[in-house]
C-alpha cells in the first residue's frame, strides 16, 4: 500500500508555504487583488517560486528543479487552495511543467523551475483527462500557428504558452512566446475571482515545436491527469479552510443564548463534512503518491480523488456560506472566494460526474447496453 501520510520534509514544506501565505495572502489582500487590474500577486509568486522553490519541486535537479516529486507539489496545492492564492501555480508549475517533462525538448524547464518565467498549457480549463487532442489550432509548414483556444487559466501573465496544434504530421505541442506577433490573450470575466481565464487567439503566430505526433498526445494526457490529480489537493485545502472557518465561527456566534455550534443539527452536518474531508485527504494523498510513482493505479487514483474532492470542496464552501448566515452572503466576507474557486474547480479538468464515469471503464463496471 502507498504511503498516505505526510513525511517530515513534506510537513516542513507545508509549514513554510503556509507561513508565506499567512503573511502575504490574507483573505483581505486576495479580495482587494480581485478588484484591482492585476489578476495575480506576482510578488507572492516570486517568493513562492524563488525562495521556497515551489515551482520546481517536481523538476529533476539537472534542470534546475528540486528533484522532489508530485507528492510535495500536492502539498503546495493544498496550501494554495487553503488561501485561494492568486498565483499561476496550477498552470505553470503543474500543467505546463508536467507537459514539458514529457517532451523531448527541455530547455524551458530551468526558467520555469526557478519561477523566473511562467508557462501555461493552452487548453480550456475544463478539459478532462482522456479528451481528444485539441484541433482548434493548426500549424502551417513554417510552424506558424493559427486558431483559437478559450478559457485558458493562468494565461494572462504567462511568458510562454504551450499550444497543442495540428500540423501536417498530426498532433504537436508548440511553444509560443507571450510577446509574439499575432498572439491575442484576452481576459474573460470568470466565476472564479482568484483564477482568471483568458481566450487565446493565434493568427500566424511564430512558434517552436516541442513535441511531435509520437509524444505530444501522451505529454498532454500526462499533464491533464497530473493536473486533475493535484487539483484534488487544492480542493482538499479549500474544504479544510471552509470547515475550519465555519467551526471557528460557530463556536463564537451566539443565537438563542448559546453558541450556534452547540446545536445538534449543525453538529451532525459538520461531522459528516469532516468525515468527507478526512476521506478527501486520503484520496488526494493516494492520487499524489500514485502519480509521483507513476503507478499503474494512477488513472484510477486520480478519478477517485477528483470525483470525491471536486464534489466535497463545493459542498464545504456551500455549507460555509450557509452556516455563516447573512454574513456569508456578503462580498466582504471571504467565503465567496472559496465558493467561486470550488465551483470553478468542480468543472476544471473534468467534473466529478466525468471522473466517476471514468471509473466505469477503469474498474469494469460497464453501463447498460442501450
Amino acid at each position: 500500500m502507498s504511503d498516505l501520510l505526510y513525511s517530515e520534509i513534506e510537513e516542513e514544506l507545508r509549514s513554510s508555504v503556509r507561513d508565506l501565505l499567512t503573511d502575504h495572502c490574507p483573505p483581505s489582500a486576495v479580495l482587494a487583488g480581485c478588484e484591482s487590474r492585476e489578476p495575480y500577486d506576482l510578488a507572492l509568486w516570486r517568493s513562492l517560486a524563488a525562495e521556497l522553490g515551489a515551482a520546481g519541486l517536481q523538476v529533476p535537479e539537472e534542470y534546475g528543479g528540486a528533484g522532489a516529486s508530485l507528492r510535495e507539489t500536492a502539498v503546495v496545492m493544498e496550501e494554495l487552495g487553503r488561501s485561494v492564492a492568486p498565483v499561476p501555480f496550477l498552470g505553470s508549475a503543474v500543467l505546463a511543467t508536467t507537459a514539458l517533462l514529457a517532451c523531448p525538448a527541455s530547455d524551458l524547464l530551468p526558467a520555469l523551475a526557478e519561477g523566473a518565467r511562467t508557462a501555461v498549457l493552452a487548453v480550456p480549463l475544463s478539459t478532462a483527462p482522456g479528451a481528444a487532442f485539441p484541433s482548434g489550432v493548426r500549424a502551417d509548414g513554417n510552424g506558424a500557428l493559427t486558431g483559437r483556444l478559450t478559457s485558458v487559466a493562468d494565461a494572462l501573465t504567462a511568458d510562454v504558452l504551450l499550444v497543442p496544434a495540428v500540423d501536417a504530421d498530426g498532433p504537436g505541442l508548440y511553444a509560443v512566446e507571450a510577446s509574439a506577433t499575432g498572439l491575442g490573450v484576452v481576459r474573460r470575466t470568470s466565476l472564479d475571482l482568484t483564477r482568471p481565464l483568458a481566450d487565446v487567439t493565434l493568427e500566424g503566430v511564430p512558434a517552436r515545436k516541442l513535441a511531435g505526433a509520437d509524444t505530444a498526445p501522451a505529454a498532454l494526457e500526462r499533464a491533464l491527469l497530473t493536473g486533475a490529480g493535484l487539483l484534488a489537493s487544492e480542493q482538499l485545502g479549500i474544504a479544510e479552510w471552509c470547515l475550519g472557518t465555519t467551526v471557528a465561527y460557530l463556536k463564537e456566534r451566539k443565537q438563542f443564548g448559546r453558541a450556534l455550534g452547540s446545536f445538534q443539527a449543525i453538529k451532525h452536518r459538520l461531522a459528516d463534512l469532516w468525515l468527507e474531508t478526512v476521506g478527501a485527504r486520503a484520496a488526494a494523498r493516494y492520487a499524489a503518491d500514485a502519480l509521483a510513482g507513476e503507478s499503474p493505479d494512477a488513472a484510477l487514483a486520480v478519478a477517485v480523488a477528483q470525483a470525491h474532492c471536486g464534489a466535497l470542496a463545493v459542498r464545504a464552501a456551500e455549507e460555509c456560506v450557509q452556516l455563516h448566515g447573512g454574513i456569508g452572503m456578503t462580498w466582504e466576507h471571504p467565503a465567496h472566494l472559496y465558493l467561486k474557486r470550488a465551483k470553478a474547480d468542480q468543472i476544471a479538468l473534468g467534473t466529478p460526474g466525468h471522473h466517476r464515469n471514468a471509473l466505469a471503464g477503469l474498474v469494469d463496471l460497464p453501463g447498460p447496453v442501450d
Binding site: 480550456p124 443539527a265 454574513i327 467561486k340 468543472i347
Partner: protein
C-alpha cells in the same frame, strides 16, 4: 361570491375605465377603490370581502383586457408583508392612510427587522425605541433591507423594554424612511450587486400613531409578517416547469452536446422534485383559499430554496466551460431580483441566499418540527431571562 359574479364586477369596472385611455396611476387607484386590488380585503380597503381564490380570476380578466398592473415585484415587501400586517393589526386610520398608495406602488415599503447580532434569533434584536412625549425615538442598526433606498415607509421592530424577556419587550412600528436620522448604505453581496442595504437609525422620531399593535406585543405582530413573507417567497402559483427548472430544462433541450448520463439522472430527479413541489404548493393553495397562512408556508420556502440551489448548481456544471464564466461583477443596485435575466453563475450565487433570507432553512425546519409535528422544544436558557442579561 362566485367566479361568475366577480367576472361581472370586473367587466363593469372595465366598461367604466378603459385601460387604453386611462392614465396608469388613475387606473390603479380606481381599481383599488372598486375593490379589485385584493378581493379578500374588506370593502373600502381595496377588496370585496370575497374568497381569496377569486383574485386569480380578476387578474386574468384585467390582464386580458390590457390593463396595467402594479408591478408587484417592485413592491413585494409592501404587498407580501406590510399589507397583511397592517390589515390585521392596524387602526382604521392606518389602514386608510397606507394601504392604497402601498398597493398602487406610489409608496414603496421596506422591512427593518434583521440586525447584525439578531439573525436567526430575531427576537434578540437590540435596536432601541424610547418613549418621548407622544412619540418614540429610535436608535440602532438594521441589515438585509431590500428596497431601503427606494422606500417611503418601513415596517420596523424595536426594543421598547430591555428588562423583560426578549420576546416580550418588542414593539412594531411604521417608520418614515425620509426621516433625517436614517442612513442607508448599500450592502454588496457575493453576486457582485448590492440588492440589500444596511440601515443606520440615529434619533429617528416615530409618532405613536405609527405604532402597529400594542406596546410590547411586536413579536406577535411580526409573526404575521413573517408567515406572510414565507408564503410570498415560497408559495406563488407556478406553472409546470416554472422557475429555475424551466431554465435548466430549456438549456438541456437546446444543447444536446452537453448531455451526460450523470447530469441526466440529476436533471430528472430535480425535475421530479420541482413538479412535486409545484403540486404541493397547489394543494396548499387549495387548502388555504381562505384564512391566514400557517407554518406550512415555511415548508414551501424550504423546498423552493433546496430546488433553486440544486438546479442552479446543476446548470453551471451542465454548461461546462461556459459555466466557468460570469456575466458581470459590477456593483449595481437592482430594484428587482430577476433570476432569469442573468446568467447561470449569477443564479448559482444568488440562490445561496434563498436558504438564508426570510428565515434560514435551519429555522424553518425547527418551525416545522415544533409547530407542525409537535416535537418538544429544545431546552432553552434564553426565554425567561431579561433581554439585557442575554449572552451575546
Amino acid at each position: 361570491m362566485s367566479e361568475m359574479d366577480i367576472r361581472t364586477v370586473v367587466r363593469a369596472f372595465l366598461a367604466e375605465h378603459d385601460p387604453a385611455t386611462t392614465d396608469r396611476l388613475d387606473f390603479l387607484r380606481a381599481r383599488f377603490d372598486a375593490g379589485l386590488a385584493w378581493v379578500h380585503f374588506p370593502v373600502g380597503l381595496g377588496g370585496l370581502g370575497a374568497p381569496r381564490a377569486l383574485q386569480a380570476e380578476v387578474d386574468a380578466e384585467l390582464a386580458a383586457a390590457g390593463a396595467p398592473d402594479n408591478d408587484p415585484r417592485r413592491i413585494g415587501i409592501g404587498l407580501g408583508m406590510a399589507a397583511p400586517t397592517i390589515l390585521r393589526f392596524g387602526t382604521e386610520e392606518q389602514k386608510s392612510r397606507f394601504l392604497r398608495p402601498l398597493w398602487t406602488g406610489e409608496e414603496v415599503w421596506c422591512q427593518l427587522f434583521s440586525e447584525p447580532g439578531a439573525g436567526s434569533d430575531l427576537a434578540a434584536l437590540g435596536t432601541r425605541a424610547v418613549r418621548d412625549g407622544d412619540g418614540w425615538v429610535v436608535d440602532g442598526q438594521k441589515v438585509w433591507t431590500s428596497s431601503a433606498h427606494t422606500a417611503r415607509w418601513a415596517i420596523l421592530i424595536a426594543r421598547t423594554d430591555p428588562d423583560v424577556p426578549k420576546h416580550r419587550g418588542i414593539t412594531y412600528f411604521i417608520c418614515d424612511m425620509t426621516d433625517p436620522g436614517i442612513e442607508v448604505r448599500p450592502l454588496r453581496q457575493i453576486t457582485g450587486e448590492a440588492e440589500f442595504n444596511e440601515v443606520f437609525l440615529t434619533g429617528v422620531r416615530i409618532p405613536d400613531a405609527h405604532r402597529l399593535g400594542a406596546v410590547g406585543e411586536g413579536w406577535q405582530v411580526a409573526q404575521t409578517t413573517l408567515n406572510n413573507e414565507r408564503v410570498a417567497i415560497g408559495g406563488q402559483a407556478i406553472p409546470r416547469e416554472g422557475g429555475m427548472v424551466g431554465v435548466v430544462a430549456d438549456t438541456w433541450r437546446r444543447r444536446p452536446e452537453l448531455r451526460t448520463h450523470e447530469l441526466h439522472q440529476r436533471l430528472l430527479k430535480a425535475w421530479l422534485e420541482a413538479e412535486v413541489a409545484r403540486l404541493t404548493g397547489e394543494r396548499l393553495r387549495q387548502q388555504l383559499t381562505v384564512g391566514q397562512p400557517g407554518p406550512e408556508g415555511a415548508a414551501m420556502k424550504l423546498a423552493f430554496a433546496r430546488l433553486a440551489q440544486e438546479l442552479s448548481g446543476l446548470e453551471v456544471e451542465l454548461l461546462g466551460e461556459e459555466g466557468l464564466a460570469y456575466d458581470d461583477w459590477t456593483m449595481t443596485r437592482p430594484e428587482i431580483v430577476d433570476f432569469n435575466g442573468r446568467e447561470a453563475g449569477y443564479r448559482y450565487l444568488r440562490a445561496k441566499g434563498n436558504s438564508i433570507e426570510g428565515g434560514t432553512s435551519e429555522i424553518l425546519r425547527n418551525i416545522i418540527a415544533e409547530r407542525v409535528l409537535g416535537l418538544p422544544a429544545e431546552p432553552r436558557t434564553d426565554k425567561d431571562l431579561p433581554w439585557k442579561e442575554l449572552a451575546r
